[in-house]
């Protein structure tokens, strides 16, 4: 706390510094306008502005709008006021690493491109029971075959293909979401009159039906919650799955998305970015921020015990994109999915490996998950994803 930024003599004053701080926050993903800057300056009149802790609390109340922002605010405040001055530092929490769109998209895509060649090793199952061989073979055969007819998802890193993935994501979203109830209930905006209620209500006004009550078929829409594995073995597929997620989020404002690797991160906010490429860039950065192996079981467990309590109910469909290669014991996956299942949701597991010839879900993690799934499907080409639409309608 004792480290306080020394501003240069030519510094234009407190107002400009506050504007600079707001720009700094904006650059880091907080949505703030001119009005907030004004409010922040006014607020400082009401607290002891020379006292860092008080200023921090006051600005926190003004500039943040939700729990996530409140949590990242302290780091941003320190970065700007405490030692680094105007210079942006890289000590932001991982949740919040949105930088300028162009950079991130390029860097992440380049990174993906480089990775694509040498990932065969990474997909070898770590808990494999003599299965590594067939795994390697299957992959080769699959790519050879597919190149003739359909393309494997890993080729899909062109923007227009991402747009296509988005279109499919939208269609899937629609297939899941259009669920209107058969019955009609009273509603302020409905398509038919609700006679019984209208007449009952008219008693209060001496038999004059002044207020017309209507009824409609209420939406029983399904909410999509997507969890995407971005561990080493999934890297080749990650970019496209992420594009798919981006499409899903942009077409459906109730959808919810998470990434997991060795831990779980909620990316719903990042994906709501209006610029599709920038959203993917922000998200790819989050995905890149992780290292090492995958802890599917623990991540799902975290999800089942935190976010799921808030966001998952009987009308949710939980989609898990993962190859099922897990470094933690399979009992974890089993327990996590059982807990999740109790919330009454549907669980779909999309496994890129399932599209390969002769694939059997023998990896311990995958085998543990199978009993809890409503659908276990392949998804390593866009055609596979598109084909899901029919299946989802019947869920």
């Amino acid at each position: 706390m004792s480290r306080v930024t020394r501003f240069a003599g030519r510094d234009p004053g407190a107002t400009a510094r506050m504007a600079g701080f707001m720009a700094h926050l904006r650059e880091n993903g907080l949505r703030l306008g001119v009005q907030e800057t004004e409010a922040a300056l006014t607020a400082l009149n009401f607290v002891d502005a020379a006292h860092p802790a008080e200023t921090r609390r006051a600005l926190k109340a003004i500039c943040t709008g939700c729990k996530d922002e409140a949590q990242q605010f302290d780091a941003l405040f320190d970065a700007f006021w405490m030692d680094a001055g105007r210079v942006r530092t890289k000590v932001m929490p991982k949740m919040t690493v949105p930088t300028k769109g162009d950079d991130s998209v390029h860097s992440s895509r380049n990174a993906k491109g480089e990775d694509a060649g040498g990932v065969g090793d990474a997909t070898a199952p770590e808990a494999g029971q003599g299965e590594a061989e067939s795994d390697g073979e299957g992959k080769l055969i699959a790519t050879e075959m597919r190149n003739l007819s359909r393309r494997d998802l890993r080729d899909l890193i062109q923007p227009e293909d991402i747009a296509e993935a988005e279109a499919i994501a939208r269609r899937l979203g629609l297939a899941l979401r259009d669920r209107r109830s058969r019955r009609r209930v009273a509603a302020s905006k409905g398509d038919r009159l609700h006679f019984r209620k209208t007449i009952r209500r008219s008693l209060a006004t001496g038999g004059e039906p002044i207020r017309l009550i209507q009824r409609k078929r209420p939406d029983r829409s399904r909410k999509i919650v997507a969890l995407c594995d971005v561990s080493g073995s999934m890297t080749v597929y990650a970019q496209v799955y992420l594009a798919f997620l981006a499409g899903l989020m942009r077409g459906d404002f109730t959808a919810d998305a998470y990434l997991f690797h060795t831990r779980l991160v909620r990316i719903t906010e990042a994906l709501r970015d209006k610029d599709a490429m920038r959203a993917i860039g922000r998200m790819s950065l989050m995905a890149d921020g992780f290292g090492g192996g995958s802890k599917i079981g623990e991540s799902l467990d975290t999800f089942a015990h935190t976010y799921a309590r808030k966001f998952v109910d009987g009308r949710s469909v939980v989609m898990i994109f993962s190859d099922g290669y897990d470094t933690s014991p399979p009992a974890h996956i089993d327990a996590a999915l059982a807990t999740l299942r109790k919330r009454g949701c549907r669980i779909i597991w999309l496994n890129p490996l399932k599209g390969w010839r002769d694939y059997e879900p023998v990896a311990a993690g995958m085998a543990a998950a199978l009993p809890h799934l409503d659908r276990f499907a392949a998804a390593n080409t866009l055609a596979d994803l598109a084909a899901l639409e029919k299946e989802l309608v019947t869920l």
Binding site: V47, A53, E54, G206, E208, K310
Partner: protein
């Protein structure tokens, strides 16, 4: 109030222990006359802060409990249709012209005030508590925007009613759904978390007069450890207070002394069947032993 520490002590005088973050946010909300959005888990004292603030300021508390399907008629205003009809019948006998009748029945006299309208037409500025805003529909948030930004309400037949006094608005949310950006932008924000050990101890001692220090510390230790367990419904402060009251009522002064009695009082902390099944007598004893 001159500074946030004054506000904090004013709240403390009403037996409410506010964290520094919360006190500063409240102070700013009062000074800047902006609404304050409080988010946090159930049972951490979000609603209570509004009640206490009203008591500390000696002002009226107007509460609007939100629920799914809440509409303008229940939240803002409604015309008194019965009275209007009676007036029309009566006036037709008296031979008034249509214009006169219309002017009369669409006047303030025939307007039923609901909480939001009531809040901006008070003599003395009240505290307006909009509770669990996340339960209301998104449409309702849109109704709120005009009121929260300009403190005015537009009634199409009557014109715009501007506030006589600006109420202190406190919104609470449990975070069951994301609120719209437009609403968040208009509010100051504070996240109310479960209190730390010292704060919770202070709350317990403020609320349960005459509790022994030793027992209070033990209870807080127990509850704080219990919150780290894998529970479906994590106990809030309200539950802690119930728990303490139950123990004092039963005359228990040592948590480890009587396992059966402790297990029985856990009913005040654990509110679901699976949580009760998860925290068995042995587990409760282990936690109590750790807390002692």
């Amino acid at each position: 109030m001159t500074s946030w520490t004054d506000l904090k002590s004013a709240l403390a005088a009403q037996n409410y222990v506010a964290s520094d973050d919360l006190a500063v946010s409240l102070h700013l909300a009062l000074s800047l006359q902006r609404p304050l959005l409080l988010e946090g888990a159930a049972g951490v004292g979000k609603t209570e802060v509004a009640r206490v603030l009203a008591a500390a300021q000696n002002s009226k508390l107007i509460r609007l409990q939100c629920y799914e399907g809440l509409d303008a008629a229940q939240a803002i205003y409604e015309w008194n249709y019965q009275r209007q009809l009676l007036a029309i019948r009566a006036s037709s006998e008296a031979g008034e012209t249509g214009k006169q009748v219309e002017d009369r029945i669409f006047s303030r006299e025939y307007l039923l005030e609901r909480p939001l309208l009531a809040a901006i037409t008070q003599e003395q500025a009240p505290v307006l508590l909009i509770d669990e805003i996340d339960r209301a529909d998104e449409e309702f948030e849109a109704f709120l925007l005009e009121i929260l930004a300009d403190y005015q309400i537009t009634v199409p037949e009557l014109g715009t009613i501007t506030a006589t006094t600006v109420p202190t608005v406190i919104l609470t949310s449990n975070g069951t759904r994301d609120l719209s950006d437009a609403l968040r932008r208009r509010c100051l924000f504070a996240y109310v978390d479960y209190p730390d050990r010292e704060t919770e101890l202070a709350i317990l001692q403020a609320r349960c007069a005459g509790i022994e220090t030793h027992l209070a510390e033990h209870i807080i230790g127990f509850v704080q450890t219990l919150r780290k367990e894998d529970l479906e419904k994590v106990p809030g402060i309200a539950e802690t207070l119930d728990f303490a009251a139950a123990l004092m009522g039963l005359g228990i002064s040592d948590l480890t002394a009587d396992p059966a009695a402790l297990h029985a009082t856990l009913t005040t902390l654990l509110k679901t069947q699976s949580d009760r099944a998860h925290i068995t007598t042995e587990v409760a004893q282990r936690i109590a032993g750790k807390a002692a």
